[in-house]
Symmetry: C3
Subunit: 162 residues, 3 copies
Amino acid sequence: MSSKPAPAPAGEGARIPSIMKSHTTHLTLTLPERMAFRNITPDVTKLVAASGVREGLCLVNAMHITASVFINDDEPGLHADYKKWLEHLAPFDASPQAYAHNRTGEDNADAHMKRQIMGREVVVAITEGKLDFGPPGRDCHERQKANHPHASAGLVWGRTKG
Amino acid sequence: MSSKPAPAPAGEGARIPSIMKSHTTHLTLTLPERMAFRNITPDVTKLVAASGVREGLCLVNAMHITASVFINDDEPGLHADYKKWLEHLAPFDASPQAYAHNRTGEDNADAHMKRQIMGREVVVAITEGKLDFGPPGRDCHERQKANHPHASAGLVWGRTKG
Amino acid sequence: MSSKPAPAPAGEGARIPSIMKSHTTHLTLTLPERMAFRNITPDVTKLVAASGVREGLCLVNAMHITASVFINDDEPGLHADYKKWLEHLAPFDASPQAYAHNRTGEDNADAHMKRQIMGREVVVAITEGKLDFGPPGRDCHERQKANHPHASAGLVWGRTKG
């Protein structure tokens, strides 16, 4: 395993009082289907640019408990596979016999399970003012072969003293 | 898709030196059953209030590797569904024939799998001193119908310069 | 449920201007198998020490979308169980008949699903300069029995005012 600092991170090692910022935006998506995928990376990229943050964290989370935010390939075949797979793992069934949750009058118990598989949130490092998807040429949406080198990033962020 | 800033976030756009704080609490839960659910939102809400943090992040994570922290509906029917579903995906079986992990003398290999489905942690934005579960009237526990608008929130947080 | 502050957190309650730092490292792992596990805790521990951060957050995320970062027991039997279980939930099949994603010329649709189960990232609190896996004597890799007390930690981190 090789380990190296990220390329030229702004302020690496600097110990000066910082200008802290936070910036929150709510996105509203209306999807007519019971299950659908929408790529919000362009929205998040704009948000990061608008924030002015150079080094920090970007939290993106679903605001509904039957929705998910995740990072994966924006490829129609994969989305079709995800739909089929999630339906297999947690099939839609509106009846209260199939799911006790549907006794509440809802029909979406399956979606509460699908959400746990796909996750609620992602936290992405911001490096030099951009979402950090890794070294140049190896981004989050790269379609890699098996046996490729795999990379992990560790971001430590916080106070050096009280 | 519509995108708008969160309503009146405190200090939005402000670029002043900040008073940074961190505040950590450990909760201990004793649950007699092999699988059970406990709503710790009231505890986390108190923690956020006690912290004095106005804009920031709240990380809540399980400290054991067969436990999960997640955000979903605190509804008994759904909990019953989750139990049944998790048992279906990763059945309890104490034998080392079923799970190699149980050769260690433990009987909880299934729980290590259930934990991966339900997740270890959640990170929640703090906006104006409160856990940010979305715009007023649309909270984390809302029981929404399919086809409702789904919302995602993006929080960017960090330094504007070195 | 008992709730208590973490033992002697550095600067708990302090409200002084802080020295903010961020520190990012990319790790590159080359694993010859289609599915394998590598413990990167020692690498992350070094990264935290090198960062100089005393109170903060450590984000560790996979940089490839068929890889996962997660926290669980580094025990060979469990790893064997995970492999078998993930293969059961999302079987490898290179054919485009099994997975539409494989029409792209790739053969790794199954790995995109396995990744969703195991997760992309972990966020770990840093307390007193160390990864916070809980009170002394109860660490992240402890092999606990069922019915043990379960602990959760809540970390609130951010600005007290604009």
